[in-house]
């Protein structure tokens, strides 16, 4: 079970969190013309990187904040966690 450092609550076990997917995906801004391809990439297409990866976790049984976590998808090592408003 992963041990995730919530920037608000500190180190907490994985079972307090919900996984939120790729943290690098940016939603196209509202009211903007978006091509089919661009939209598909936003909604469906995800990479499955080996190694360092920034992903979202939601501390649902804690502070209810969405956070960004940089994790190695092979070893599960977590390098860094930041609040939603920061970039990794």
């Amino acid at each position: 079970m992963l041990y995730i450092e919530c920037p608000y609550c500190g180190l907490r076990s994985q079972n307090e969190f919900a996984y939120g997917g790729d943290g690098t995906v940016k939603r196209p801004t509202l009211n903007k013309e978006v091509s089919d391809k661009e939209w598909d990439n936003f909604v469906y297409n995800r990479k499955s990187p080996r190694g360092k990866h920034v992903e979202l976790w939601h501390h649902i049984s804690g502070c209810r904040q969405w956070i960004k976590v940089q994790r190695d998808t092979v070893t599960h090592e977590i390098f860094k966690t930041v609040s939603a408003d920061k970039e990794i």
Binding site: M1, L2, S13, N31, D36, W39, H58, R64, T75
Partner: protein, 998 residues
């Protein structure tokens, strides 16, 4: 029978406490401190079971967790449990056990005929033998295998025992309390670290319990006892016996199973049977020791062939002789300790040593004691069927290829030692890549992957002095790293006998023209020739060889067999062992009961139960409840002999005719506040929200980004910057997470806060033509006329002193209102509604009537908003704003979503107006078409229309808008029904929606 194999004065058992137990129905005696195995051996019982494949007689091989044979079916306190290792099960008064995998009895086993038909059970027999003819599988092969195979029978009763989970945090977790674990624990504890020391056995001390060594001027055993006693007194130390650390998971999370009560006749009150510990350790010291491996020879599975270390443990811990004429067969010095122990107890052993005249202190001692030793000698085969009667032995050449003349030697047990295999399961599970140590022909941990350090014989160190000094040092260093303390304790003096090198010899060659079975895996009956066959058939990867032959796949996971298997593969393949590699070590190290894994999350504790504040009223009024997610909701209120159908029909009819009240507390409620709340809702919902006035509610649909409907509900503007959102019961948690996602990550510039208020409000829906009159009596001072509180209006009122929110919204399609009060007043509100409603003939209605009402009105709900439908499919396309952007809007332009023949919700009526259509039925054109019959759509929800008194269903059908008036068939293969139906509008009742506005 008396304990004829029990010694009078050796062992660590309590001879003052005699214990009676039963094995295969027969009564025996043992002592407190015995295992079932030691007590049976004390009584001269060597035959405990039959092997898995050939049903050969099986006895005891080890004395602990590595035991491959002695698996029994236990009865404890009227509960039966399979797959119990007799070598681990402690004896208690009244214990009952019986043999498994034998029928009709362990002495006469019909399955043993497999032994003579073994040509049919070669390597991979699972894949070969039972393949043909196919028709034989169900009638002959499977019943035969079911009857013959398996290690016991699972209980079919509910397990009344209690199991617990515990979460724990520590600086240092130490797995194993042998010399390494004790040293590390002591050094770390003295340096202020929070330590958990886990020992799988009941007794602490590991190898110190059976070895002849001296630590700090005391015997190893006394030193271990002193250290444990001191550790137990320390507040920063938790010492646990009967506790197996069986799994090493990510981020230094380890799981340990503690057998709290398995050694007692009955679990004590308020105590669990077993406890599963989830331990997050800053550092882990793995001191799991090593397991002796056998040398492979002919008929090496005969009862009476035991590991030399096990024979020594039975002698020194239990005072039990595994035999009175022992043969010790070894390739190393450690087995000499076993021989010496026999000799000290008045038994004359004979040692066969594969080495050519080795010299060491302990060999010298054995000679001086007058023990007969034959160097360059091996056991070729054991004789005897149910017990060793003699052995065929021979001289072996120094290249280990040629045997001399076979001699017969009388013996009643063969104690075998092929050197030691470090127990590297935990370090390997942590991700540590193992390396092969040529010196000991075994794998040892490589570079640590997580915060783990392996010490003692688990790391390949078989010298006690080195084990103790390095373990003290590691304990000190690790604790210093964590606590920053610098209190170093001195390392005690160690004296032990020095051993010389072992012989790299693991398998006795077959003599000419003999074809003895030579077993590698004793539990799964895998022989040398099975592996050879698999290799001839082309299996190369060790993982494939394992699965094809089942080597190492039994409940002992090959603890005694894996390394010899690798040796064999490397010999045949002419490779070195490290290039063959080993199979992956996966948790659990040893079987863990399902009960322990489940813990307290069972029955009603498997999930939380959520109840509305009116729950006890529902109970008192004969509600029949239904699970709605975690909530319990009244499905219907039973009157007299009514069933579901009659009761729900009555309740729904009463809503249409008079007035009904329904508990809607379970609806998700989210409080939304902030100056940008309107803008936020405008982005979340598909329709327009910027102009909703204060005191008004609006129905809204929200999508996922992929255009699929996520949820629907009404949201009310309570004040300028304050909204009250409702969600469906099922989606409440998801919607909150969804809103938080957009506020925190996508639009952090919006000044909006959301919080769940589902539990804070109790809700009651009052529906029916008489609902306004009832409401007026509840709030006599409010103007509740159609003008005062129009459809989708909102106001606040005083309900006999309790502040209430009044919404004029309707799910039933009738004139309806919803009242919300603080949860604490929920029951008060409910009772007032019933009390005042009596004159209007009010009846409570449950979810079944609620469904009926919404279905015949054509209101979509969870069964239509099923995660596969878009607004158009649900007839909600009118709610799609063309003027603004919102979550998921771009996806609605996708080709499939704008297709002309897109699916849509329709109504379905059976032509006979009688036959109810099962939910999930498929709609097809031709009921008798060949399968697979092309499906046009499916029935999403069915009810008995109380308005028209006939069945009515909703369906999602391809090209739905052009299907109205068509005649189709509803097929339910599950219920074996084919029903001719007509497609109608989904709005079956009051299609113009006049009632809600009346």
């Amino acid at each position: 029978m008396s304990q004829t194999y029990r010694l009078n004065n050796s062992g660590q058992i309590n001879r003052d406490k005699k214990i009676s137990f039963k094995f295969n129905g027969k009564k025996y005696f043992g002592y407190e401190g015995d295992t079932l195995a030691s007590a049976l051996l004390a009584n001269g019982i060597h035959l405990v079971g039959r092997s898995f494949k050939y049903h050969r007689p099986r006895g005891f091989f080890g004395a602990g967790v590595d035991e491959p044979y002695a698996i029994v079916q236990m009865v404890r306190n009227n509960e039966t449990e399979p797959n119990v290792r007799a070598t681990e099960q402690e004896l208690f008064e009244g214990l009952e056990a019986k043999s498994v995998n034998c029928w009709p009895s362990v002495n006469f086993d019909i399955g043993a005929i497999n032994n003579f038909f073994n040509k049919f059970l070669p390597a991979g027999f699972y894949y070969k033998t039972f393949m043909w003819p196919k028709s034989f599988w169900y009638r002959i092969y499977e019943p035969f295998i079911r009857k013959a195979a398996g290690f016991g029978v699972a209980s079919t009763k509910y397990d009344s025992e209690r199991y617990e989970h515990k979460y724990e945090y520590c600086d240092l977790l130490i797995a194993g309390s042998g010399p390494a674990g004790l040293s590390g624990a002591y050094a770390a504890a003295k340096n202020g670290a929070r330590v958990i020391l886990a020992e799988e056995k009941p007794r602490f001390g590991g190898s110190l319990l059976t070895s002849e060594v001296n630590i700090g001027n005391q015997s190893g055993k006394d030193w271990a006892e002193k250290i444990i006693a001191e550790l137990k007194e320390m507040p920063n130390v938790t010492v646990k016996n009967r506790s197996q650390v069986f799994g090493y998971y990510d981020h230094n999370m380890l799981v340990m199973s503690e057998k709290v009560s398995d050694h007692l006749p009955k679990t004590k009150k308020f105590s669990p049977k077993q406890r599963l510990w989830y331990i997050r350790a800053k550092e882990v010291l793995i001191s799991s020791g090593s397991i002796e491996r056998p040398i492979v020879f002919g008929n090496n599975d005969t009862p009476g062939v035991v590991l030399a270390s096990a024979a020594k443990e039975y002698l020194k811990v239990y005072g039990v002789l595994v035999g009175k004429k022992p043969l010790v067969f070894t390739n190393n010095d450690s087995a000499y300790e076993t021989a010496i122990e026999f000799k000290k107890n008045g038994i004359d052993p004979i040692i066969l040593d594969s080495r050519n005249a080795p010299k060491s202190e302990i060999i010298e001692e054995a000679k001086n004691l007058g023990i007969e030793i034959k160097f360059s000698y091996v056991v070729v085969a054991a004789n005897g069927y149910k017990k060793v009667k003699s052995a065929q032995i021979a001289h072996i050449s120094s290249d280990k290829r040629n045997l001399g003349k076979i001699e017969k030697i009388n013996c009643d047990c063969i104690c075998v030692s092929g050197f030691w295999t470090p127990t590297i399961h935990l370090s390997s599970q942590s991700g540590n890549k193992t390396k092969f140590d040529e010196k000991i022909d075994a794998f040892v941990p490589g570079k640590s992957k997580q915060n783990e350090t392996t010490v003692g014989s688990a790391s390949g160190i078989f010298n006690l002095e080195e084990t103790i000094s390095t373990s003290f040092e590691k304990g000190y260093q690790l604790s210093k790293k964590i606590t920053n303390n610098d209190n170093k304790v001195s390392v005690p003096q160690v004296s032990e006998k020095k051993f010389t090198n072992h012989d790299k010899f693991w398998c006795v060659p077959l003599p000419d023209k003999k074809n003895f079975k030579r077993f590698l895996d004793f539990q799964n009956d895998v022989t040398v020739s099975d592996i050879e066959l698999a290799l001839r058939e082309g299996y190369r990867s060790i993982e494939h060889v394992k699965r094809y032959t089942t080597l190492g796949m039994a409940t002992d996971q090959g603890k005694t067999s894996n390394l010899n298997g690798l040796q064999l593969v490397s010999d045949v393949e002419n490779k070195v062992v490290p290039s063959v590699g080993h199979t992956t070590f996966r948790p659990p190290y040893t079987p863990v009961s399902i009960g322990a894994i489940v813990g307290r999350e069972i029955g009603k504790h498997s999930k939380p139960t959520r109840k509305s504040p009116m729950h006890s009223w529902h109970e008192k009024n004969n509600a029949v409840f239904v699970d709605a997610g975690m909530w319990l909701r009244p499905r219907y209120y039973k009157k007299g002999n009514e069933g579901l159908f009659e009761a729900s029909k009555r309740e729904a009819e009463n809503v249409r005719k008079n007035v009904g009240v329904c508990d809607v507390t379970t609806l998700g409620k989210i409080d939304i506040k902030g100056p940008d709340a309107a803008e936020f809702l405008n982005r979340v919902y598909t329709n327009a929200w910027l102009k909703l006035p204060v005191g008004k509610a609006r129905y809204g649909v929200m999508l996922r980004e992929d255009g699929i409907v996520m949820d629907d509900g009404t949201t009310t503007r309570i004040s300028e910057n304050h909204y009250h959102m409702t969600t469906t019961t099922a989606q409440a948690a998801n919607v909150l997470s969804h809103l938080e996602y957009y506020l925190q990550l996508v639009w952090p510039d919006l000044n909006v806060n959301v919080v769940s208020t589902t539990e804070q409000w109790a809700g009651a829906a009052i529906a029916g033509p008489k609902s306004r009159s009832l409401l007026q009596k509840l709030f006599p001072n409010k103007d509740l006329s159609n003008e005062g509180l129009p459809f989708m209006g909102y106001t606040e009122g005083d309900l006999f002193g309790v502040p209430a929110r009044i919404f004029r919204i309707s799910f039933s399609g009738e004139l309806a209102y919803e009242l919300n009060v603080q949860s604490d007043f929920g029951n008060f509100m409910w009772e007032k509604i019933i009390e005042v409603g009596n004159e209007f003939e009010i009846q409570p209605y449950g979810t079944e009537a609620l469904s009926t009402l919404r279905i015949e009105m054509g209101h979509v709900a969870g069964s239509e908003l099923d995660g596969r439908t878009i607004p158009y499919d649900n007839g909600l396309d009118g709610l799609i704003s063309k003027k603004k952007d919102f979550i998921g809007k771009r996806s609605l332009n996708r080709e499939a979503f704008i297709a002309q023949s897109r699916q849509k919700v329709v109504g379905v009526v059976p032509l006979d107006k009688k036959t109810s259509i099962p939910e999930g039925s498929h709609l097809v054109k031709d009921a008798s078409a060949k399968l697979p019959n092309p499906k046009l759509g499916h029935i999403s929800a069915s009810c008995w229309s109380v308005e028209y008194n006939n069945p009515f269903s909703l369906a999602i059908v391809k090209d739905g808008k052009n299907m109205i008036g068509k005649k189709l068939y509803a097929l339910s293969p599950l219920k074996n029904k084919s029903i001719p139906v007509e497609i109608v509008s989904s709005h079956y009742v009051d299609p113009k929606g006049e009632r809600v506005r009346s």
